[in-house]
Amino acid sequence: MRTSILGARVIDPHSGLDQVSDLHQEGGKIVAIGQAPVSFVADKIINAQGLVAAPGLVDLNVALREPGYSRKGNIASETLAAAAGGVTSLCCPPFTKPVLDTPAVAELILDRAREAGHAKVFPIGALSKGLAGEQLAELVALRDAGCVAFGNGLDNFRSSRTLRRALEYAATFDLTVIFHSQDHDLAEGGLAHEGPTASFLGLAGIPETAETVALARDLLLVEQSGVRAHFSQLTSARGAQLIAEAQARGLPVTADVALYQLILTDEALQDFSSLYHVQPPLRSQADREGLREAVKSGVISAIASHHQPHERDAKLAPFAATEPGISSVQLLLPLAMSLVQDGLLDLPTLLARLSSGPANALRLPAGRLAVGVAADILLFDPKASTLAGESWYSKGGNCPFIGHCLPGAVRYTLVDGHISYQA
């Protein structure tokens, strides 16, 4: 199968390429940018005038809900939603049932993802057995089964000593550890950012220090152990500052943020709408500004959807009894384009945060447009708009952006040269 994509604005943030050109793929690899190779005859030609051709987006956190929570989503539905959002590679977190702490679960996920064929899936393994934070999972066996990094989610290790050992063990084999830093005690029982909105609504608060206290500890242990570390889902300006300070003193740590944290604040909770119930919580306007600045400066090098689909009942209860999370992977490109519309980022920088940035953070073979690499390509119209929810492939309808008109529209998503989504 040979494809030629003609006349697109080709942007590759990794190399700095940004020009109107043609792309040619054969057998799943990009074989030329610009002039087609001699004797290249395309089976399919995509006229991409007016479109942007970018590396397929790389999303570091998409909960696929399979195995174990198929009422919320499954690998086929959520990877299709991801493809519609412009994603070609995604990482899925270990919160499955059973937990992703054995090679068998990783293999099952990878098999089903290949079968569905909508996006490349890179599983994140559990750092500890059952995510309990007590015993190490078999990290090397999990790596060999395809896990690209290891994390324990918001269930932080209660024991700093056990965490230190886990990091040292991971460092032995040059494995990457993903932190979602949150101090269990400081966050316990909390439902919303500790601030005027939570006070007014009578919702128990989660203070900023729940993030920063844990983050400070985690950074120091990372420094001591020398493990490769990625800090996921930052929520506070002060947290981003701690990452910046660590990077400034030479610690090779990376960070990502949930896209919705760059758009929403805790004020969205004002009517107890459970659609805005997320963990860690939406924080203040000052925090949002701090995160946006950190994305702009590159301290935060990746933007992820942190997609968490839910069935209807999970959100149909008083706020405290609802499950946290937003289903948003299908809107990754148009929601992120709102950051360009707002003037925060230029288009190449945004695409860097959505492709090469996340790919580099976890050393994934993705996020580039260059001769010889996989033909994982996103084609989108930056001038068109997306009516969120007009089509919807995720099983989770828990998305507060449905009904909004968002800038930019995905036209084609190609994975290894195959069209995985076409609008």
């Binding site: 006070s199 608060g205 009517d271 459970s274 008083p318 405290a320």
Partner: protein
């Protein structure tokens, strides 16, 4: 980006009348005054030999309490009975939910029994909003207390108490003392006082019992020194201190709290000589209030209970008529389509 479902007047019908009573947030001063005026007129009913008016005849009021309560539930029952409604009271904490039935299903089942008004108390903040929005939007939902968020009938009965004893709110200093953090009563009182034009609202508590950002949200002044905060106030509202607050480091002991914040005769003397002493009950004698003060001449704690029935009658009848008016509007618009 503004949420598409931002702030809508959930508790008002299209004509601005009450159809649910969920919180005092967003209710205009005129409406609060109307509730107080209506309650005033019902106070006479309680003084008559035959204590009934037929406003809710043929209607069914269902008290659904997911959290224990004696005073609030009883006064809602009496209020509904005095309005000639049929009344059912359920302590759901001990029945369906322990069998795994969701809040949603419990209420839908009760709705199917043709209830017209739900009075709901629930331990989760926002529970009444959830019910009014997603479960039974066509029934009048009255919030009998939701988590730490709101207890609007208590707020209004406190306002009735103040108005009947002080005449108006314009020149008053009101102090609220104690566990503000966990108190839905305090939140409703602060909103009501602000809306009704009280110029000096003070809250007095240690930092561990104060929610963040009170000054901006409610326009109150915060004091950590009770003697300073009580100086020359016209009204003192004491809050109940739950025993479990000693756990987890919020307070060292009941004794220390009483020494620093308890309303003793000596401390009350700092307020104006005719200052009112109020408490939503149940009181902890010797923990937040001295017996001599609770039972003293300035205490209106028992009057509050009496006024509570009148306020609840007012809210029940107003919400029912607002809900009926909305139903008629809906029918008319359907017919004209």
């Amino acid at each position: 980006m503004t949420p598409i479902d931002a702030k809508r007047p959930l508790q008002l019908n299209e004509q601005g009348q009450l159809r649910h009573f969920l919180s005092l947030d967003g209710l205009p001063r005129e409406l609060l005054t109307e509730i107080l005026d209506t309650a005033d007129s019902f106070l006479e009913v309680g003084a008559r030999a035959v204590k009934k008016v037929p406003l809710l005849r043929g209607k069914t009021v269902c008290n659904v309490f997911f959290e224990n309560s004696t005073r609030t539930r009883t006064t809602f029952e009496l209020a509904a009975q005095r309005l000639s409604a049929d009344v059912i009271s359920l302590n759901v904490s001990t029945s369906s939910t322990s069998k795994g039935e969701t809040l949603f299903d419990t209420l839908r089942n009760l709705e199917a029994m043709a209830a017209d008004i739900f009075v709901v108390r629930h331990a989760d903040s926002g529970a009444a909003h959830f019910i009014a929005e997603h479960v039974c939007p066509n029934l009048a939902i009255i919030n009998g207390g939701d988590g730490r968020h709101a207890h609007p009938t208590q707020g209004m009965l406190d306002m009735l108490t103040i108005r009947r004893h002080k005449g108006s709110f314009e020149n008053l200093s009101v102090a609220i003392v104690g566990d503000i953090l966990h108190s839905r009563v305090a939140r409703s009182n602060m909103l009501a006082l602000k809306t009704l034009g009280c110029p000096d609202i003070r809250v007095i508590a240690p930092k561990t019992l104060l929610p963040i950002g009170l000054e901006q949200s409610y326009g109150v002044r915060v004091f950590s020194d009770a003697n300073e905060g009580l100086k020359d106030v016209d009204v003192v509202i004491m809050l109940r201190l739950q025993r479990e607050r000693m756990q987890g480091g919020l307070l060292p002991s009941e004794g220390e709290f009483y020494r620093l914040f308890g309303l003793t005769e000596q401390r009350l003397a700092l307020a104006k000589p005719d200052a009112l002493v109020m408490h939503p009950g149940p009181i902890n004698r010797g923990v937040e209030i001295e017996s001599a003060v609770a039972d003293g001449p300035q205490s209106v704690i028992l009057n509050q209970v009496t006024y509570g029935i009148a306020i609840r009658m007012a809210v029940l009848s107003m919400a029912m008529s607002g809900q009926n008016a909305q139903r008629q509007l809906n029918q008319e618009s359907e017919e004209s389509n």
